[in-house]
């Protein structure tokens, strides 16, 4: 039978690439993702890798995975379970079997299933021979062996030859899903410009993988049709890149220079890296000696008139605490991005979680309110980084923007916006010649004015001590009360400048699912699927947490039951219990360092729908 005629159209498919941390699975996964988007599919990706750069070879602890969900219609999650798993060694199989759908396909590198590797992975006996995998369609491909044979006459050394084996796996998967190799080849040619031998070898192996799949014809071939997507120019973007670029966009719209004071920390490091590449747009990145210096340098830059930001993750935010308090007291604009990871302490550095919410809201000395907001998809990190900067600058407040490991490293196609569609940002900068009173406030926002050093006649001193309106140190008891209340009220009034909370799904439902931040894709998919099944459920997803959207109480009052779903032990739900105590909240919490699955979300909703 002609291979091409044997192609089955499917709606969507989830593919998981897995191997040793050194096997190049992240690259293989992202190359396949790029291939899929270029052929018009919608995608969401989810890299899942260990904290160790190279954990002991062949052990489960060292397995690195990359999951991609591709669809012919809008895709909002990286998929609960994989239709296809690529496992480059026994450990990868062991770690990932539970993530494969029953009846799914597992492609193994048979060459790597040696006795030693099988034992290292923690199997007592060969799992293939044990027929523990009978629920799956197993393709035993001698990936390493064919890779070696293919390159037997090349001038590369043995190690470099074996390094090409990920391309073999990519070749197989490209054939299975009817994708051509152009994107991958194009990438290889750019990446190894100066090493033609390496380009040639990888290309050969890639083609060998494709030919192998075509020859064995072990599985049905699938095609995921292009998704119907809005017209426009698109690019693939992950959360950290979108966040980084959102800040540059805000600086441009505010007509300010961008200063980034950061210290490397997983999973936030990309933000510093991305921004350090943008010297062409005048971005000043300062890799500080520690997290404290990172936030403090940003505060200094803000004092001196830049749009100043600092990026970090949970433990880093803990170190920045005192500095953030100073920014609150001095009333300087500042954005702190916390790319949340599993905690506490070092916790699960490469895994996702939403457990820094309380730290963001409350983790400082004294009465120290600030704005807390959260992005909810990889690409809207751009919008929320922009919005966080706008609020910080126009209201003269620090803003904590929460993203998470899932958003940070997950990617999706993004319709590239035009900067003319974004609003100008107007920070209240004091001008030469005007009478300057450091803590005199705008009537509406309560923002004080920003007098930038170098401006003639506006000399003043800021500080962390309590002060009066003139900026003079004041220990007067009543003044402290007034100033504390003003700082609180100033944050509250931000509610007048943020959008109202929207409801998705069945608006007449009795049950409201509530979420915030990076879980949007899973919650929206679950609610959509439930609606399609005829279940009456609605979704309210929060991007603004402090202050909450003004209509939150109105929205909640329309529902009989509210379930708050989050990746922690119940921080947002308890915050809501403080802010809106008149409602009763159910909660569903998961804290495994993993995103929700749509299945488990639906199961929890079914339960609530049942007990009426």
């Amino acid at each position: 039978m002609d291979a091409k005629s044997n192609v089955d159209e499917i709606q969507d498919v989830v593919i998981r690439f897995s191997g040793d941390s050194g096997d190049g699975m992240q690259l293989t996964g992202s190359l396949f993702s790029d291939t899929a988007v270029f052929s018009g599919n919608d995608i969401v990706t989810f890299p899942d890798y260990p904290a160790e750069i190279r954990a002991p070879q062949g052990t489960v602890g060292g397995v690195s995975g990359f999951q991609v969900h591709i669809g012919s219609s809008q895709v909002l999650t990286s998929g609960d379970f994989a239709d296809v798993l690529v496992a480059m060694n026994p450990a990868a199989l062991k770690a990932n079997t539970k993530w494969v759908k029953s009846g799914g396909t597992i492609i193994l590198d048979k060459t790597s299933f040696t006795e030693k590797n099988i034992q290292r992975a923690g199997y007592v006996k060969d799992p293939i021979k044990e027929s523990k995998l009978e629920d799956f369609n197993i393709i035993e491909a001698p990936i390493s062996e064919i890779t070696k044979n293919t390159l037997e006459n090349s001038d590369l050394d043995n190690k470099s030859i074996l390094r090409c084996k990920n391309m073999f796996a990519l070749g197989i998967v490209c054939w299975l899903f009817n994708k051509d190799l152009d994107v991958a080849i194009d990438f290889l040619q750019n990446k190894f410009k100066k090493q033609p031998l390496v380009i040639e070898a990888n290309k050969k192996v890639l083609e060998a993988g494709l030919n192998y799949a075509e020859t064995i014809q072990a599985v049905e071939r699938h095609r995921v049709a292009p998704a119907k997507i809005d017209k426009g120019i698109y690019r693939n973007i992950n959360g950290n890149l979108a966040t980084s670029w959102g800040f540059i966009a805000a600086a441009e719209k505010a007509n300010l220079e961008l200063f980034v004071g950061s210290y490397p920390i997983t999973p936030a490091t990309d933000i510093l890296q991305n921004l350090s590449q943008r010297k062409d747009l005048g971005v000043k990145t300062f890799q500080a000696e520690d997290e404290i210096a990172a936030v403090c340098s940003a505060i200094g830059a803000s004092f001196a008139g830049d749009l100043a930001i600092t990026s970090t993750s949970g433990p880093g935010l803990a170190l920045k605490t005192e500095g953030v308090g100073l920014a609150i007291m001095a009333e300087l604009p500042l954005v702190i991005v916390d790319v949340q990871r599993g905690g506490p302490s070092t916790g699960l550095p490469t895994k996702t979680e939403q457990s820094d919410l309380f730290q963001a809201l409350y983790g400082r000395s004294g009465e120290s309110p600030l704005v807390v907001m959260a992005a909810s998809t990889p690409s809207n990190c751009f919008n929320y980084a922009f919005e966080a900067s706008k609020i910080a600058l126009e209201h003269m407040v620090p803003v904590i923007l929460l993203t998470d490991g899932y958003l940070a490293h997950g990617s999706e196609p993004w319709k590239i916006p035009s900067m003319k569609d974004f609003p100008e940002i107007h920070p209240p900068i004091a001008k030469e010649g005007e009478e300057y009173i450091p803590y005199k406030r705008d009537e509406k926002t309560l923002a004080r004015k920003w007098a930038i050093p170098g401006t003639k006649g506006l000399e003043h001193t800021l500080g962390g001590l309590e002060k009066d309106e003139n900026g003079d140190i004041s220990y007067v008891p009543e003044n402290h009360q007034v100033m504390s209340e003003l700082r609180e009220e100033k944050i509250k009034r931000v509610e007048n400048y943020i959008p109202e909370l929207k409801i998705e799904g069945n608006k007449d439902a009795d049950l409201l699912v509530v979420g915030w931040g990076g879980t949007y894709g899973h919650l929206a998919t679950a609610v959509k699927e439930l609606n399609n099944e005829g279940k009456d459920v609605a979704l309210a997803h929060f991007n603004y947490i402090n202050p909450l959207p003004k209509n939150t109480g109105d929205v909640f009052s329309k529902f009989k039951k509210i379930i708050v779903c989050e990746l922690n032990l119940g921080q947002f739900v308890n915050y809501l219990r403080i802010k809106l105590p008149e409602f009763k909240y159910e909660q569903f919490n998961k804290i495994q360092g993993l995103p929700f699955t749509v299945v488990e979300l639906k199961d929890n909703v079914y339960k609530l729908l049942e007990d009426k």
């Binding site: 966009a249 010297k279 747009l281 520690d290 210096a293 403090c296 200094g300 050093p453 170098g454 001193t461």
Partner: protein, 338 residues
């Protein structure tokens, strides 16, 4: 380095508020020296920024009429670095103490020096925590009795100069609070220096550590116990100007001119601009029976962080096709859905 020159006097830098240091505190004299030095620099008044941490000395920004920022304990160096990078045209002065910069802020201190941030750092060293009422500091001599060391400290103190040189500092000077003119003189040198300039001012805390520097400032013996360095001049000191330093067996040695055949020509000539820091380190760490070295000990030209960064930005901008955010968003791999 700040630009745009204009004529100012030290009165332009007096703040309207009251100075609230203890009567007799050495800080008062240092304040006058700084105001003098600022006026003599001939920069525009609005270009001056003073940034401090926490401690007695750190109240300084409230007492000098410039843009000011009284921040948090130990962090002035990081905050000043951010301000300088944000606007390299500012003349940034960091006011700190021995506790603020060498204990809680030690990390920021060594890194701003290593980066050669163009900041004038004035460290008031009184060898005690004054604001918290008398605990020993990282510069308190071993054995010092304080409220947290009632039986004497068991710690080895920091030598500020050694730390600065160890962090690859390009400028280190030392003065004493009661030497108003010398302090102003070295501060001017510090301000002129492109890069991190550290001026250690030995300061007397009348309340909690009175007389900490008395050995060196003692009226009777000060000429014999202080070596005031001048670039290009021999290292001569003493009431009779008859003592000097020579190198003997790779170590400094005090000699008397006219004894053992020593003449003025044998005395070491001070070269603050010498890149090699060996002699500077020896001078900065001299302890009795040697005299204490005052004046500019080290003053070496080197590249500075903010200038390098500004230049790098210029260079990259000249080469890059990306000129605005729209260009950036459309750069790299994109595709069109029609």
């Amino acid at each position: 380095m700040a630009d745009n020159k204009t004529k100012l006097t030290f009165k332009d830098f007096k703040s309207k508020g009251d100075v609230k240091w203890c009567p007799g505190c050495g800080d008062h004299a240092i304040l006058v020296s700084v105001q003098k030095a600022m006026a003599d620099m001939n920069y525009k008044h609005e270009k001056f920024v003073s940034i401090s941490g926490i401690g007695c000395s750190s109240r300084f920004p409230f007492y000098v009429n410039t843009y000011g920022f009284h921040t948090i304990h130990g962090r002035a160096g990081a905050i000043a670095s951010g301000a300088k990078v944000a606007n390299p045209r500012l003349s940034v002065w960091q006011i700190t103490g021995d506790g603020d910069s060498l204990a809680i802020g030690g990390n920021h201190f060594i890194h701003e020096i290593r980066r050669n941030m163009d900041i004038n750092i004035i460290m008031f060293n009184n060898q005690i925590y004054g604001l918290t009422k008398g605990q020993y500091s990282p510069t308190s001599p071993k054995g010092q009795v304080s409220v947290t060391s009632p039986y004497g400290t068991v710690e080895k103190p920091f030598q500020a100069g050694a730390l600065v040189i160890g962090a690859r500092g390009t400028f280190f000077a030392r003065s004493m609070d009661n030497k108003v003119n010398l302090t102003a003189e070295v501060l001017e040198e510090a301000a002129k220096h492109d890069g991190a300039s550290v001026v250690e001012v030995l300061q007397n805390c009348v309340i909690y550590n009175n007389g900490a520097h008395a050995y060196f400032s003692d009226k009777e013996h000060k000429e014999d116990r202080q070596l005031i360095l001048h670039d290009g001049e021999p290292m001569i000191f003493g009431k009779e100007r008859d003592k000097g330093l020579i190198l003997d067996d790779s170590k400094l040695k005090v000699v008397k001119i006219g004894e053992d055949g020593i003449t003025k020509d044998d005395i070491l000539i001070h070269n603050a601009g010498l890149e090699y820091s060996g002699i500077h380190l020896m001078l900065a760490t001299m302890e009795p029976p040697f005299p204490i070295a005052l004046g500019v000990i080290r003053n070496v030209d080197d590249y500075t962080y903010a200038n390098e960064l500004a230049q790098q930005i210029k260079d990259v901008q000249a080469e890059s096709k990306i000129k605005c955010v729209d260009d950036l968003l459309l750069s790299g791999k994109t595709w069109e859905v029609k």
